[in-house]
Symmetry: C2
Subunit: 556 residues, 2 copies
């Protein structure tokens, strides 16, 4: 179906512009729609008890009949993680276009959700796909995962280049460099709008190549007197390749531990992305058959996650492996903002065990997967876009990226900093803001998706800070009085003992006696409120704390 | 009173060895005892709702009759903050020895607690004090607050040098350099044991001088088109001096905002530590009388604290000041571990307002107040201690510092890594481990000090993650059954509506019917437990969540 001549190309980011996570962008032209990425975000301190955060993709569901395909730029969870939910919410099977490794990772995740036989369409750099009035040209990019793609989108209203996540690595481990020729070719055809990764837009310079990590890993492993544990992102296959290569050079065998590390290394080996001989891998149960200086353990836990392999080993809670004095631990990753303290706790546990800990402050055992300012400017210099929209970042990153675009000569009114749900409309290569669509976040909490109220999160924070006290008042409608009050508390720093109960009851009774309460069923609400307020005041006057009060009035 | 010949010098850290905070060390020799520092620590995520964390100073109280004085090395809260509590718990007035500025800051804090007329004894570098069998020689050190002192402690059993917090700054803003001559003199007399600041023991090199920050602040302020807001630690008087100096050079007036910033600048100006003319300071209410490019606002909030001046201004909630597009914000501080995300939130709010934000990644607008590896080794080279005990750090810092000591030739068995409450005993210059004393942490939560149980904190975390549901069951002892159950929930992601109540009641009733429960007062506990378990299972099966269940059984 070709787009109607009059329909603009709509560009609608549903996620990814309020933080690094849950990337999802709609490209819609007439009767055709393509979704680029479908990611999730992990909750932060302000979202206690939430398992996952998804973008609100109502707009996609409402326009499902137009949806021709989902493009996934690479296999990180902030680009793939909402797929299991989205696919279940869609009525029809929509094809997913991505590289072999990305599809491999997605397949693993979908099978956990028992979603069978999704429509996978493998593409690679150079692939061309027509989806109704939207045509897609994929091009290779380098990132902290193999198989990362950018996409050049053509419609009858104009063209868009979406970089995906990228750095410009001239010496990537698999030799697949960014496809500068393709970018230049698209630029020659004309890129009306560029969407580009903003993660490192505040970082000056040029991000170091992944290849620079290898010699440092080798140095650390070669000089380790005992076993070496390397914690890394389990999807960072090039890093894992370099760890395995260093182990082999040092005559050490590799042990893999941690659920996602086991899954991802299996998938990556099966698909030919990770090269290590069977003979060079041993099972965790066989670790004691080899001398300590013949072992490298490749594990999860680089973010200090309390249930990860590294945390468990550091705390002596891992079922097969433990870390001892004389072992070396390499944190081949950087803490994601918010995880610094958790990582530091693991480092302290390891220090207490007498381990030698390496992190990127000590040697270059990690580099970022995102391009810094010089790379972002270089990309713009090659792409020569007319309009620019920074994506994939927090407010400060998007604005810093916009500032770089200004330096590159893109006019101020040709730069669009959007919020999730804002839209751009392109007509004949001219880009303007459109009408916002429904957007927001959806929480996954246990089996429940979507209806976690902000009040629930506020209540949880209040409960965490102040604890709670339940007051159950038995109200006799016959005798027109409160017969008894029972108290029960959790998370409060004072004892709810007989003395407390006696004093609190007396205080509440006094309030009730003073007030004019109707001891009828319809008067219960007023009594409940009076119980709550007088108990809250009683506790404040005694303790200067304000726990949440849960008043329950039972009529007898 | 001289120490008995046979009594060892005991060195007992009660805090400061399990993290950066709540520093407190006992030096006890025979009948005489001196306490060095009395700090607090701010709670972290694992201590929800806690206001402050103090060291457990039971040992000090139990030996109060020996306590001759409290030495405070400098005015940071991790060295002074438990004084208001400790002084109230002591029966006698104990003299506090410290520099003029430190005493000024302590006096302000004590007056908030209405603690009157403490016994202040001002000392400075070069001061000598005899406290029974313990003699003290104070020497100047440089740190991120003026008036920082180290102390050389002499007893008939040997000598100890305590560095306090320090860096080795050759160009401090007030010209008061570390007293290398004094350190060398003490070294010549013999330093049996060195206690030294470990904060930056994992950081290679030499910490930059405070003086290097000034030109960068000046550059940022000079080039700012509008108003400039500088957020910094309010006790960092040298930083504030440099901000004021830069403002004056640019013809800008200074506005001070934020409670501690107002207090500390007042105290520091009164005591002659901060030099700024009255004419160069204006009140926040008068800010609109001057053009934007004639203003520098010096504010609190460098840690992203939600109630601080900077956060309020960034969110439009400050009572007198607001930040606009075109303003410049300088974060002249580094986030304390755990505060990264909060700081980033403020930066994002500022970016959205259209501010230009400077932090230390963009220019050297902050340097650390703690010495790095080269300074720590240099100090050891000058002090030439026989024994070494790293203090003021997390496990990883203490161990890294011990490693530096080994490199400096201190024998492994002469290096002591202690936990809080461990003791060292020195006899005739020989140091050995002694018997541990009572130690730990004490929580301040509202008015309550000390009795916050770990269970309370666990309950709070559970409440935060999963919410809670109260089930009140009315049990009729006469009819031997449950008459009614009422549910009430907070922080749960499912609705507690009529349908839920009906189904949950049915599920619980079924459990009760199946079991053999005694409907007597003594049987209530079993019924309560059955209500809790069956409700918990019911909710799990429906929602895959496990909120905390508060069962209340009322007998009628």
């Amino acid at each position: 179906m070709a787009a109607k001549k009059s329909s603009p190309l709509k560009i609608i980011p549903l996620g990814g512009l309020d933080g690094i996570g849950k990337n999802m962008t709609v490209f819609e032209c007439g009767d055709d729609m393509v979704l680029v990425d479908a990611g999730l975000m992990f909750p932060d301190d302000s979202q206690p008890g939430i398992d996952l955060v998804l973008p609100d993709y109502t707009y996609v569901l409402e326009n499902e009949e137009k949806l021709r395909g989902i493009v996934v730029t690479h296999g990180h969870e902030d680009h793939t993680g909402s797929l299991p939910y989205l696919l279940q919410d869609l009525n029809n099977k929509v094809p997913i276009f991505s590289s072999k490794l990305t599809l491999g990772f997605i397949e693993g995740k979908l099978s956990e959700f028992r979603i069978r036989a999704p429509k996978f369409r493998e593409v690679k750099g150079g692939s061309h796909v027509n989806l109704g009035g939207i045509s897609l040209d994929f091009f290779s990019m380098t990132h902290s995962i193999p198989g990362a793609l950018g996409v050049f989108i053509r419609t009858n209203q104009g063209t868009v280049m979406h970089t995906g996540d990228f750095k410009l690595d001239q010496t990537p481990i698999d030799g697949v460099t960014p496809d500068y020729a393709a970018i230049s070719r698209f630029a020659k055809q004309g890129i009306d709008l560029l969407l580009s990764d903003s993660t490192n837009a505040t970082v000056p310079g040029f991000t170091k190549s992944e290849a620079e990590v290898g010699p440092n890993l080798l140095h650390a492993i070669k000089n380790a007197p005992g076993r070496v544990f390397v914690a890394s992102f389990s999807s960072h296959i090039h890093r894992l390749q370099q760890i395995c290569d260093a182990a082999r050079k040092c005559g050490r065998k590799v042990v893999v531990t941690g659920r996602s590390m086991l899954t991802n290394t299996r998938v990556a080996r099966e698909l030919g992305y990770l090269n290590i001989d069977d003979a060079d891998i041993i099972d965790a149960f066989d670790i004691d058959n080899l001398p300590d200086d013949k072992i490298v353990v490749m594990c999860t836990g680089s973010q200090g996650e309390p249930l990860s392999a590294l945390s468990r080993m550091a705390n002596g809670e891992h079922k097969t492996l433990s870390i001892h004095e004389g072992d070396t631990v390499i944190l081949s990753a950087t803490p994601v903002p918010g995880n610094e303290k958790a990582v530091q706790q693991v480092v302290n546990s390891l220090a207490k065990l007498g381990c030698d800990v390496w992190d990127k402050n000590r040697a270059l055992v990690h580099v970022s997967g995102h391009g810094s300012q010089e790379e972002l400017k270089l990309l713009m210099a090659m792409a020569k876009p007319t309009y620019f929209m920074p994506v994939h970042g927090e407010a400060v990153h998007l604005r810093a990226h916009a500032q770089l675009a200004r330096k590159m000569g893109i006019k101020d009114d040709h730069i669009f900093i959007l919020d999730n749900g804002d839209t751009l409309e392109m007509r004949g290569g001219i880009v303007k803001r459109g009408t916002p669509v429904e957007s927001g976040v959806v929480y996954v909490d246990g089996l429940r998706i979507g209806d976690t109220d902000p009040i629930v999160l506020r209540d949880r924070q209040k409960l965490a800070n102040d604890g709670m006290v339940t007051a159950v008042a038995i109200v006799s409608l016959k005798h027109k009085k409160i017969e008894a009050i029972e108290f029960s508390g959790r998370g409060v720093s004072f004892a709810i003992d007989d003395q407390f109960s006696e004093d609190a009851s007396a205080s509440i009774m006094k309030t009730i006696e003073k007030g004019k309460f109707s001891f009828t069923s319809s008067g219960s609400d007023a009594i409940r409120k009076a119980v709550r307020d007088s108990l809250s005041n009683f506790i404040w006057s005694r303790t200067r704390t304000r726990p949440m009060i849960i008043p329950v009035v039972m009529e007898v």
